[in-house]
Symmetry: C2
Subunit: 242 residues, 2 copies
Amino acid sequence: MPKGGLARVSHEAGKPWSREEFKERLINVGRSSYHDKHPFHVAMHEGTLSREQIRGWVANRYYYQISVPIKDAVILSKLPTREFRREWIQRIIDHDGNDEQEGGIEAWLRLGEVVGLSREEVLSEEHVVPAVRFSVDAYVNFAKEKPWLEAVASSLTELFSPILISERIKILERLYPWIDHSGLGYFRNRLTQAPRDTKFALHVVLDHCETLKEQQLAVEALQFKCDVLWAQLDAIEKAFPN
Amino acid sequence: MPKGGLARVSHEAGKPWSREEFKERLINVGRSSYHDKHPFHVAMHEGTLSREQIRGWVANRYYYQISVPIKDAVILSKLPTREFRREWIQRIIDHDGNDEQEGGIEAWLRLGEVVGLSREEVLSEEHVVPAVRFSVDAYVNFAKEKPWLEAVASSLTELFSPILISERIKILERLYPWIDHSGLGYFRNRLTQAPRDTKFALHVVLDHCETLKEQQLAVEALQFKCDVLWAQLDAIEKAFPN
């Protein structure tokens, strides 16, 4: 093999990151791009959102909630082994519910009720703005069109969600006293579900991205997912101004 | 609207079948085309298959078993409501297993062991003949490419499977005494799973095929699935002759 500059650079460039460096690069995506830094979330956590804005956020975010199990079923259909499916299927049950648990979508509808949205109003999707729909659909389509490993990597925003959500519960309880706390069950459930889901997904991504190219695609998938979440808040902020 | 011959015929032709007639037409597909009538199954039930043939059947049918949960995850991703998904997801759990139950794929591997196939031999898919792979893949692709209602209709071969399987258990126990009965758990489980699955799927198909065209497509989907099962036996019979 040639030892010339170009070949050497190419070789260097092609060497996979260490597991630690790969993980760090994934986490850096969250540090720079996770939607906890979006002005709408910042305002939510400062307690300055109006009831109308909270309602707009809940009604729009519902479209994301109902799309997540669809996205997860798409991934389920593409996972390479039964063992992976046995882990992943729990995400769908968490959202859709079963005989034992009501599920996240139902919990979100209850959140809707305590912020002043009727069940019918949320179910009808009448408040869902086009750009929210487009960004959520882009996420589902990403799962359909990309290899399973990138689709799994795109789920890794859950690495960052427990901190945001645990703060959010406290914030909503303290700064939005008009919201009945009984409706915050969705967020409480996610505090245990997200770390469990992420532990598996991170493990899979770190283990199965063997080449630098695969690692880079995983980082890009996570960046894409951050963009999906960010674009939703942009659209909600625009539709429900202060 | 014109009352002329042609328009009238067209109108008559376009009137949906009654629920009873639609159901009868679906059942007729099974009567004419279900694989219980295939010579290989007839020979199995007459007790004339060799050990080699039984092994060939089990090793090839394994490819179908591992593809079914993939097909069902595809359908899951296309179902229109959470309520439908909550029913359908049980099929995937039945095949893949969970913390409480080993699942159908594992049970099929045990069937392999009692007919003299090592776990590795079955897992490697080394005995799977191309035409079996093609027909099974056609089934998965059907679910991917067709509307959800046709994909659900294609699953209705389970209307006919409990009778075949309950006979098969007795036949295998009586006419193939060299097969350890402990390995027949897969079939025993299907005796309760298939009727439950079919009850829901039939209900959905009868309720949701509103036009004659949709009813006809459902009948065709079921015919297609019968063809998939039949083609598998053709290929197995060819590869493992008497």
